[in-house]
Symmetry: D2
Subunit: 161 residues, 4 copies
């Protein structure tokens, strides 16, 4: 079973820039994370963009939809910032029928010691293999159908609606 | 959806004993790992034993089977040493019908910086929610039906047979 | 030998705020770091402020000087942001005679996996025990007399002048 | 100021062998640790051996003494297992006059998340720069003259005698 991973940025991939003292984007940590997880799933990773999801435009979403639509894999994981993950999930549900697409992310950057990123990646790859076609968000060990979930910004968790 | 986690030891939970300079078992790291993963699944953890799976006896396996059989949850994750994980999976398949049981573990102790444990835990909890009744091994981001898997001890990975 | 540690903030103690997605100050990591280092030096830690050193005022510096002057210990470590560490060192040199004072900090927050903080703390505590009275900056494994050092902001290291 | 680092093994450099499930020695972590500490001291590292200090022989100690004696640097750090660190310190005190030699190690392998190694390395390099000629042990943030220290094996710390 082949899984395509599209990287779009988000907290997941934020790095600490030690010269500027700020959080920035460098290269994705996905390959390093797959190595750490001793992942033996047939995964191919492609970075589509590297943005904070609050800065994601309609054009950016169109790029994500087009890539999910045209790639040959029918099981896809999209790493994404949590703030507008639900919005991108809706765009994917409207534009990409018949595939299992899992959006995931992290509350704390992978590069931080206390990140939930590795847990979420293991979870997202597993749901991508086991769930029927549809668009889902996988966070906090749970999965949600795209139109029955919201981010609770006060608690920092995703919850069913 | 409620998931029961039974802890049995294995590499997953090995600690470094700084007085003796050896690897030992202390308390399980499961609660800490669930916290790190910001896990919001309704999970209840119970430690059944804390042993190296090479030292696991038929009696130990009977304890695991009995607990999986009698607990009220129908979705179960068992953390287990990798060396005899397949053997315990067979015992569970023979003794516990109608439940989704996922065995998982780690190649490197969670307490080590380079552990695959958090990835595997995210994976196992997700497969436990998404797969139909049966006994499975979840390692390396993959899942295997209990009687179609072996550990490749040279490569340190699980593979289909 | 007793060492006083005064905490003033800086990159050293920055945390990731997972709700806001920003870097903030929480409690100091000093006690946790001393525990990790199995530190057996007689150290007492006091937080004077928790600020980015670019935001440090003349009043803040007066507070640091007064505390170094009036505390009973003659060997002191001050954790401090790197951007104005040299300026505070000058204030301490002018205001606190006869004590060994070591300023140190970090280029990457301790809470990040890749921090230099623990290395710098081990270094600063050691220089505090071994150097004669004076005001020094301990960074990058080196020590500099307060008026013969500058931060090279492009390279992110301290260098002799 | 140039510092020579001689690596001899010990807990410091122990790794987890995920195939065998045991602690072993691979390559030294020193270069990685110096990079993490953003170390700008002029350090040259040479591995003399990679052994558990309980297995260290009189011949091994003779190799360490000879290397400390003949190297051109007068400031030296030796990484070493803690169990016989005091014994090697005595051999160095007898055989290498006029140099500042610091022995250091770790209670927990560097590769473990909870290691004291980075703290001890920062400490040892600093004492190597600041102390007068002599042979010292630097552990737990403290330094001890070679003939006034013992390892308290119950507490896992070094203490003055």
């Amino acid at each position: 079973m082949k899984i395509r991973v599209f990287v779009t940025g988000g907290t997941f991939d934020k790095d600490y820039d030690e010269i500027g003292g700020t959080l920035t984007f460098g290269d994705t940590h996905l390959p390093e994370m797959l190595r750490l997880g001793r992942c033996e799933v047939d995964v191919s990773v492609r970075t589509l963009m590297m943005v904070d999801s609050l800065a994601m435009t309609a054009d950016d979403r169109a790029v994500i939809v087009r890539n999910c639509l045209t790639c040959k894999e029918s099981r896809i994981v999209v790493t994404h910032g949590t703030d507008t993950m639900v919005e991108t999930a809706a765009a994917l549900a409207a534009g990409v029928p018949g595939k299992t697409i899992i959006l995931t992310g992290a509350m704390v950057p992978y590069a931080f010691g206390s990140s939930d990123g590795l847990f979420n990646l293991g979870s997202a790859l597993s749901f991508a293999q086991a769930l029927p076609p549809g668009v889902y968000i996988a966070m906090n060990g749970r999965h949600f159908v795209w139109d029955r979930v919201r981010k609770n910004k006060d608690a920092g968790v995703f919850e069913e609606i």
